[in-house]
């Protein structure tokens, strides 16, 4: 009876001291955060800095493309055509006398394209075969080249339509495309870039925060000091995750506020869902950071791995800017281990489309699996090291 009582007592004492120990650990972690400004900088200044940088630095909307316009034999017809370029906000045309000069300008990058109307265009326009308008594009930036050629085609078909109309003919395009772009009608690239950027930035911050702080303890030998105290691995992991989780969520809130108020990105889903999914994501990102630092135990390597394993893959493999569906299947498989991939999908949907459960739920499950996997792995490794 007495022995039994003692067991119960010691159990409850254990439980109580566990909370005490956790409080101590968390307090220690917070003091460390407050005294070394670099973690606060990582959590709050860095997201702001990065979002500003990305928000203004990354844009796929080509406007004012410099083009050289060469008209060898100016006439009313050619003037009608080229006026389409002068009136467009997509182009910044310069008139160039001959094709040689224009090609020189294309070579030294003063223009991105040449519109070349040869001297026989006016005659050809009246002939039954029709005229050939030559367009030369600098194709080095293939994506930009494709965008420019699309713009030129737009001006050309508008001109054809006007010409036919002026002559009282019917516009002879058999099929017309009527395009409806859902969720982002004017194809404003900020609307999809900013939510994606939040995901990338938070990947970095989550991993950097934990990767550096835990590796530092290993390197300075304070991890061994903690290990000899009665603190259990579970308490230790929780004590590391909770403070940085709070910091990370704070940074997240800041970036969401910036997206809405500074970059005018609409937010069509619910804020609470953004909060819940961000928490799940932070869990996965911090887990990955903890794992990196428990494997490397060295700030130099942990930091490098955190940067190499998070920033570049999150930027390139998350589907934030390059379409995952178009990658070779081996690489598509690989994108499944990138936590940012799921969060990019969730955030783009929550911001632009609303609470669409068929997107949110599978991606959330993936994040949970990743978080559990990394934290579990860290747990296992840490136990081994204790012995």
């Amino acid at each position: 009876m007495r022995a039994n009582n003692m067991v119960i007592q010691s159990k409850s004492a254990q439980h109580g001291s566990s909370i005490l120990r956790m409080r101590g650990l968390i307090r220690k972690e917070f003091l460390q955060i407050l005294r070394d400004p670099s973690s606060i900088a990582i959590a709050f200044l860095m997201p702001v800095f990065l979002l500003l940088l990305f928000g203004y630095g990354v844009s796929l909307d080509a406007e004012h493309v410099p083009v050289a316009v060469v008209v060898e034999d100016p006439s009313l017809d050619t003037a009608n055509f080229t006026s389409g370029f002068y009136g467009s906000r997509y182009f910044n045309p310069v008139t160039v006398r001959d094709i040689g000069t224009a090609e020189q300008e294309l070579r030294n990058h003063s223009v991105d394209a040449i519109i070349y109307l040869r001297s026989d265009v006016a005659r050809q326009l009246r002939s039954p075969e029709g005229a050939h308008i030559q367009v030369i594009i600098n194709g080095v930036d293939a994506n930009n080249g494709r965008i420019i050629s699309g713009y030129v085609q737009g001006i050309w078909s508008k001109w054809l339509g006007n010409r036919a109309l002026a002559r009282g003919e019917k516009i002879n395009l058999p099929v017309k495309v009527e395009q409806r772009v859902w969720f982002n009608r004017e194809l404003r690239s900020k609307n999809f870039l900013v939510p994606g950027l939040i995901a990338i930035i938070m990947t970095l911050i989550g991993a950097l925060l934990t990767a550096l702080v835990v590796a530092r303890e290993w390197e300075r030998g304070t991890m061994e000091a903690i290990m000899v105290t009665p603190v259990t691995i579970r308490e230790l992991l929780l004590g590391k995750i909770l403070p940085y989780f709070i910091l990370g969520i704070g940074g997240m809130g800041l970036t969401v506020a910036m997206a809405v108020w500074l970059f005018d990105v609409p937010i069509r889903g619910s804020l609470w869902l953004v909060f819940v999914t961000s928490s799940l994501f932070m869990f996965a990102a911090l887990g990955m950071g903890l794992f990196i630092s428990s494997v490397t135990k060295n700030q130099f390597v942990a930091g490098q791995v955190a940067i190499i394993a998070t920033f570049l893959p999150a930027f390139i493999l998350s589907g934030f800017i390059f379409d995952i569906g178009s990658m070779p299947w081996m690489i598509q498989m690989l994108t499944h281990v990138i936590a940012a991939r799921y969060f990019v999908a969730i955030l783009q949907t929550l911001f632009l489309a609303g609470n669409i459960w068929s997107v949110v739920i599978p991606n959330c499950l993936a994040l949970i699996v990743m978080g559990v996997f990394f934290i579990g792995l860290t747990w296992k490794r840490s136990v081994k090291r204790l012995g």
Partner: protein, 369 residues
């Protein structure tokens, strides 16, 4: 003097390579990343999942649908029979596009009117959406061109002959992979140098280095040479992979490329050492490296053109060494740019390098605690 520097260089290499983990970090990720990103980073879309909602079912509409089915860029994944089926498919990202052909389409077409096709696109990723729309427009334009001679009299009075120089098929990979050469060189050299002084500061061995007969300039030289050697080795490897694995044509002079690489390494090693001598701890050094690397990548024109940025951001890019090297790499690879046209890229790199190396050397002595 040369003996002393030589000894320091050997010591630096040992510090970097004797630890198996940091050895792995310097060698493995760049190789993996080159291959993975080379395949992943492309704006060209393939197998875009799309659904067809064809209310018409006459031959002209079927022909139009089959021209989408036959395209390597598109892949039909669903055939719809009701309008209500469209929203769930797009919402859940099962398809990126729905091709909706209405009931009068074939009649309009055969009677000489314009038939209209509705294309519904998921705009959540507006970049993919706009690329997709250019594919749609070119398929429709081809269909129109093929339809006309048989069914409608007269041809359009003017045609566009669009040619792309340097990259005739507009392959994204030709643009991105040479950029990765610059990207990986930047990341590796900055990381190697940015921590070299900070690590010694933290461990207290930098003070020891300062009391040796080595002069600051000699320390500077000894600390930068490993960055140069590793940078050259990595760049050579990535250039070989670019040419022989990814088959990107190397049109220009390889010596011009290496001269540019040397200038670029000068600037990145300089920046790395500058960051390193500002930092007191490794963590600060790493953060500094990071705070330099991320903007350097974003503001370099690697993934998105500099010309699309707002004016003030474009001005900032002039401070970015990566901006100049990207132009050099792409110029030499694709455009066969001669040496003299690249001088305007070389001298800013040399200036950035010289200023930062000088600053780093000065900081060695000034910043001691």
């Amino acid at each position: 003097m040369w003996n002393r520097i030589y000894a320091l260089i050997i010591k630096e290499f040992l510090a970097l390579l004797k630890d198996s983990k940091s050895r792995v970090v310097v060698i493995v990720p760049p190789v993996l990343q080159l291959i993975v990103f080379g395949y992943a980073a492309t704006y060209d879309l393939t197998n875009i999942p799309f659904a067809v909602y064809n209310e018409d079912k006459d031959i002209p509409s079927l022909e139009l649908v089959s021209s989408f089915q036959g395209s390597p860029n598109f892949e039909e994944v669903a055939y719809l029979t009701h309008e209500e089926q469209i929203a769930p498919l797009i919402n859940s990202r099962k398809v990126l596009m729905v091709l909706h052909i209405n009931r009068q389409f074939s009649r309009d077409l055969t009677e000489g009117r314009s038939g209209s096709v509705q294309v519904i696109v998921d705009g959540r990723d507006s970049n993919t959406a706009s690329i997709l729309l250019t594919y749609v427009n070119s398929i429709i334009a081809q269909f129109n061109a093929g339809w006309k001679p048989e069914h409608i009299n007269g041809v359009p009075s003017a045609r566009l002959d669009i040619r792309a120089w340097y990259n005739p098929n507009l392959v994204s990979r030709w643009f991105i992979v040479p950029g990765i050469v610059a990207l990986l060189t930047l990341v590796v050299t900055t990381l190697v140098t940015a921590l070299s002084v900070a690590r010694e500061r933290e461990q207290g061995t930098f003070d020891q280095l300062l009391v040796t007969p080595l002069r600051p300039a000699e320390i500077l030289l000894g600390k930068s040479v490993p960055g140069f050697i590793i940078g050259f080795a990595e760049a050579t490897f990535t250039i070989l992979v670019t040419v022989y694995w990814f088959q990107v044509p190397l049109q220009g002079n390889i010596l011009t490329l290496y001269f540019g690489l040397f200038m670029f390494l000068l600037s990145t090693v300089g920046l790395g050492l500058m960051i390193s001598s500002l930092a007191v701890t490794q963590q600060q050094g790493l953060l500094g490296a990071f705070l330099f690397l991320v903007p350097a990548v974003i503001l370099s024109g690697f993934a998105t053109p500099i010309a699309n940025m707002p004016q003030w951001t474009q001005t900032i890019t002039f401070l970015n060494p990566m901006r100049y090297f990207i132009i050099i790499v792409r110029g030499v690879f694709l455009e066969n740019t001669p040496f003299h046209l690249l001088i305007n890229q070389f001298w800013p790199l040399a200036t950035i390098g010289a200023v930062n190396l000088a600053l780093a050397g000065w900081l060695f002595r000034r910043r001691m605690y």
